[in-house]
Symmetry: C2
Subunit: 225 residues, 2 copies
Amino acid sequence: MQPSAILFDLDGTLVDSVYYHVLAWREALEEAGIELAVWRIHRKVGMSGGLLAQALLRETGRVLDPDLIDSLQRTHAAAYRRFDDRVQPLPGARDLLAHLTTLGVPWAIATSGRLETAAVALSVLGVEKRVPVVTRDLVPHAKPDPDLFIEAARRLGVPIADAVVVGDSVWDLLAARRAHALGVGLLSGGYGEDELTTSGAYRVYEDPRDLLRHLDEIGLRSLEV
Amino acid sequence: MQPSAILFDLDGTLVDSVYYHVLAWREALEEAGIELAVWRIHRKVGMSGGLLAQALLRETGRVLDPDLIDSLQRTHAAAYRRFDDRVQPLPGARDLLAHLTTLGVPWAIATSGRLETAAVALSVLGVEKRVPVVTRDLVPHAKPDPDLFIEAARRLGVPIADAVVVGDSVWDLLAARRAHALGVGLLSGGYGEDELTTSGAYRVYEDPRDLLRHLDEIGLRSLEV
């Protein structure tokens, strides 16, 4: 059976931005006097900024003061903007999206980031205005809650249970399961394969190009690239 | 049986520097006009600079021109130096080294980096002059060749087969196997647990603090921290 739609995460899945987000969070935490090893930050990227700040503070045993969480998010956004011109599409990302459009398979983007932060990524990908883009601003709860993917499917007018969710982080795959969608993991965000598999990935590929080569495994026509 | 010595990798194992090395390599490649997704660079860190540059060029299908490899290494070193003041010990690293010294267990450091790059990390760790530090400059081949660990064991005067190698990358663990030493993996460099286990890790811990809590599993007395 062919999936009715593909719902993509953005950072680490279509654009090569995860490591810049990680170091921007490291800077924000450092400015607030909070020490946390960088790999632990990496392992939380993909949640919304608010949830991520909460999760990081919980790991350090700090009180989850809403003002501190706000200020961390603002410092992260400012630090991340300095990396804006480094953000590139991941290999095969543009080809994959174009191929889905050619096949007539609807697709959308569902990101835990805010529209402001996502704008650069959408622009380097060349995502057209008609494509639904659901950001953190538009739903009550970000990943690992399923709201972002459910809203993306709603905007495409397809049942979420017939859609495939593609993401690089455990949060995408956990959200996919809660939404009853099939989850596909990509290694391009820097998570290990086991982490994605044990979070429920149906299949794990290296990056968008590798997924494009194996689309038949999720019921679509692959492109030899 | 108690291990006769512990041989530590440095970056990602005792100091939180891997992500800075990754972005410094990204900068060096970009300056040379070579595009490569950041996670692929992350997966190569832990080899010597020369081997890493070769491996990255091979992935891009580029000719392995020795001048280009030299120039990449120089640009990486310059970019990494800008992050020098960010490099901190990983949680528990100093306590772990002090505890081994208290137990009378000899330990040494074996890093694929050059002494010049390693100096900052050794200084933030407070490693004393009497501790053997084997860098890339001192052996013919870096990891995943076993030379660095074999030379470290030789300097401590212990048989390598009775030593435990502690590292965060698959290259450490592959080198440990080739040296016939027991390898222990740490997640603090950002590799996934399965990658370390399938490369031959006897056990995998989160970071130096977590290893310190579980030293009994490798035949030493743990410290409750």
